[in-house]
């Protein structure tokens, strides 16, 4: 089995799907000759041609809008939004069209597209190249929102997303692209969307997270293990649908829950997770459900002190979990 970075896992999955299914096409800004601004699609145009790996005009609404039409007429488009920050011009097509096509046509049409978008901060992206946008989309029935945390998961979830008959937003945390490596089987495999993965078992505190945050939570858990605090880490893998059962099981077991996301607090997806727990597991709780999130500012500052102050770190998670354990 090959060791791959998160980025390579995504690239090789795209390559595998392009090779096995002629209907799969990739397009977006700079994804062809340049291989994407992060090089995720590097080499794919050379291998599969300009007709299947397309450098599109600079227009996100058209990218998603044409992908919808192409999907209806038999293709399996995987459009890329260059940065999640630039998904807003396309949100109309995503929310009102892609996510609603099946429902509004009473199941007569479906829109199997996968929209890939790098998101998140800590990479000196400043206000417009660091955003977490998942809360906007986690609220949208008809859409699926997937966020992987390991190379292995990335492949299985992306493969599933491409096979999925519904529109999937596949968000890739930029901080993971080259920072982590892991074993990735060469053969095709699917990870179901909507099943969380308990990345670490524990009994004192449950940390619920996804994407980069799941990795940081694991580091924090390691630290706390040394202090005799046993932390369970639930990696949601997708926020729409999200795995209520896994969350409730863990919450009931530990009685103490810490929800972590990089997105800002108010109206973030952590609220939903918290609400579900207090609806269905309130009397198992030994402490308030806590959220550790980005601050309620419009976006992440560029200057290092601002970026550092904004970002979630393993230490911040450890601090929060420690406090919760002591509660």
């Amino acid at each position: 089995m090959a060791q791959m970075t998160f980025l390579e896992a995504i690239r090789e999955t795209l390559r595998q799907e392009l090779a096995r299914d002629e209907r799969v096409i990739i397009y977006g800004e700079d994804v062809g000759v340049r291989g994407g601004v992060f090089r995720v699609t590097e080499g794919l145009q050379a291998d599969f041609g300009e007709a299947r790996v397309i450098d599109s005009p600079l227009a996100e609404a058209a990218i998603v809008g044409t992908a919808i039409g192409a999907a209806v007429n038999g293709l399996r488009p995987i459009p890329e939004i260059q940065f999640a920050d630039f998904i807003f011009p396309a949100i109309n097509q995503i929310v009102q069209e892609a996510a609603r096509m099946r429902y509004r046509s009473n199941n007569d049409f479906e829109v199997p597209i996968v929209i890939r978008a790098p998101f998140g901060g800590g990479v000196r992206g400043g206000l417009y190249h660091s955003q977490s946008v998942e809360a906007f989309f986690g609220h949208v029935p008809g859409l699926k929102v997937v966020i992987a945390s390991t190379p292995y998961d990335a492949k299985g979830l992306l493969t599933q997303a491409i096979a999925d008959p519904d529109p999937v937003l596949f968000l890739e945390h930029k901080g993971l692209y080259r920072s982590i490596k892991g074993e990735v089987p060469e053969e095709r495999y699917l990870i179901p969307i909507g099943k969380a993965d308990r990345k670490r078992e524990g009994k004192d505190v449950s940390v619920i997270a996804y994407g980069l945050m799941a990795n940081l939570a694991l580091k924090a858990a390691e630290t706390l293990a040394g202090e005799g605090i046993s932390v369970e880490v639930i990696d949601l893998r997708s926020i729409r649908p999200f795995d209520k059962a896994a969350i409730l099981e863990s919450a009931k077991k530990t009685g103490k829950v810490l929800i972590v996301h990089e997105d800002n607090l108010t109206g973030g997806f952590g609220g939903e997770i918290s609400a579900v727990i207090s609806e269905e597991a309130l009397f198992y709780l030994d402490a308030p459900i806590m959220r550790l999130t980005g601050p309620d500012v419009p976006a992440m500052g560029f200057s290092p002190p601002l970026e550092h102050a904004f970002m979630i770190t393993a230490d911040k998670i450890a601090d929060a979990a420690r406090n919760l354990a002591k509660f």
């Binding site: 096409i25 007709a51 397309i54 599109s56 005009p57 227009a59 609404a61 058209a62 998603v64 809008g65 044409t66 992908a67 919808i68 039409g69 192409a70 999907a71 209806v72 007429n73 038999g74 293709l75 488009p77 109309n92 097509q93 009102q96 069209e97 609603r100 096509m101 099946r102 429902y103 509004r104 046509s105 009473n106 199941n107 007569d108 049409f109 479906e110 029935p141 008809g142 699926k144 599933q160 096979a163 999925d164 008959p165 519904d166 699917l190 179901p192 969307i193």
Partner: protein, 328 residues
């Protein structure tokens, strides 16, 4: 005219479809005024543009992405009056949406009518996307997006034209310019007279045509479709027309246009004019006309009765079809 393949038989069918649409439309207004359905969006006045263009295409085979004003179009494309009325009454059997959508949000996979929402101009990119697939899969289909002149103020209209032009896609952007976007007259919507003026900056042909003449619309659309099928790319067609009725049953057009203005345009009523022409050209006789009208009345009555009796969707179906089956 034989050059464009428009036989007397086809002309007769066109006439039938236009007259049927008008009659059905009149019925919708009556039913609405009776309080039996809350909303009408009307194609009244647009019949020539819609039917003329439809007949120039492979109806039911090519893809259309209609505008809400396009009842005559979907009738030409194979939707039955019963289906229209089922949609109007929001009945479970409505093939467009199972009663989920407000009237005039068309869609049928079987007929290759892409399901439509209400946010104007999103459909333009959908048509380009359908055409992108047709180009790749070489299925020989042309896709057509229909839209009002008001919707060209939306950026997505321009994005779609540009995308289609760059990729030389087999798509037609078909504008029905009736001079108003609800109450907003064209001069407040844009500076130019012709929607077709936008074509040049996307390097595609742009043609304005008398949208009250179904034959002219047919010819222009046919040329655009042929061009698309030859792999030469998109065309922007503008059919100039007028709507004779308010924007919808919720509108009152007296606030923004005079009765005189409306009357003046009625001189060019596409259904009346086409009928007169077919009679003059002896494509139909007075007897044919009477028979057609009788048939139309029967069909409209049948549709009304059928749809009226059909059941409403069950409240329990509310949660269905948010998602499909996983992982095919």
């Amino acid at each position: 005219m034989p050059d464009s393949g428009l036989t007397p038989e086809l002309m007769k069918e066109m006439y039938y479809t236009m007259a049927l649409s008008r009659a059905l439309d009149d019925r919708l207004w009556v039913l609405n005024r009776q309080g039996r359905a809350p909303t009408v969006y009307s194609s009244n006045g647009h019949e020539a543009a819609q039917v003329g263009s439809a007949f120039a295409l492979n109806r039911g085979e090519d893809w259309i992405v209609p505008y809400y004003r396009d009842m005559a179009l979907v009738l030409a494309w194979g939707m039955t009056p019963r289906e229209v009325l089922l949609h109007f009454f929001a009945k479970a059997e409505d093939p467009n949406s199972g009663g989920r959508q407000m009237m005039a949000h068309w869609g049928s996979h079987r007929l290759h009518i892409l399901s439509t929402g209400a946010v104007v101009a999103t459909q333009d990119a959908h048509a380009a996307g359908l055409a992108l697939a047709s180009k790749m899969l070489k299925d020989g289909r042309v896709s057509v997006a229909y839209f009002g002149e008001g919707s060209t103020s939306q950026g997505e209209f321009h994005e779609a034209l540009n995308f289609a032009a760059v990729h030389k896609l087999p798509v037609i952007f078909f504008n029905e310019n009736n001079g108003y976007a609800i109450s907003v007259p064209q001069r407040k919507q844009m500076v130019v007279q012709d929607i077709s003026a936008h074509a040049e900056s996307y390097g595609m042909p742009g043609i304005s045509v008398d949208g009250n003449d179904p034959v002219k619309v047919y010819e222009v659309t046919k040329a655009a479709a042929d061009r698309a099928r030859r792999g030469e790319g998109p065309t922007l067609v503008e059919a100039k027309t007028y709507r004779f009725v308010p924007h919808s049953s919720d509108d009152d057009d007296r606030a923004y246009r005079t009765r005189e203005e409306v009357q003046e345009h009625k001189q060019f009523d596409p259904v009346v004019m086409f009928e007169a022409r077919l009679l003059a050209d002896k494509v139909i006789t007075e007897a044919d006309k009477a028979e057609i009208m009788k048939k139309i009345k029967a069909v409209v009555d049948d549709a009304t009765t059928y749809a009226d009796k059909a059941p409403l969707p069950d409240a329990d179906t509310l949660g269905l079809y948010v998602y499909g089956e996983d992982g095919k």
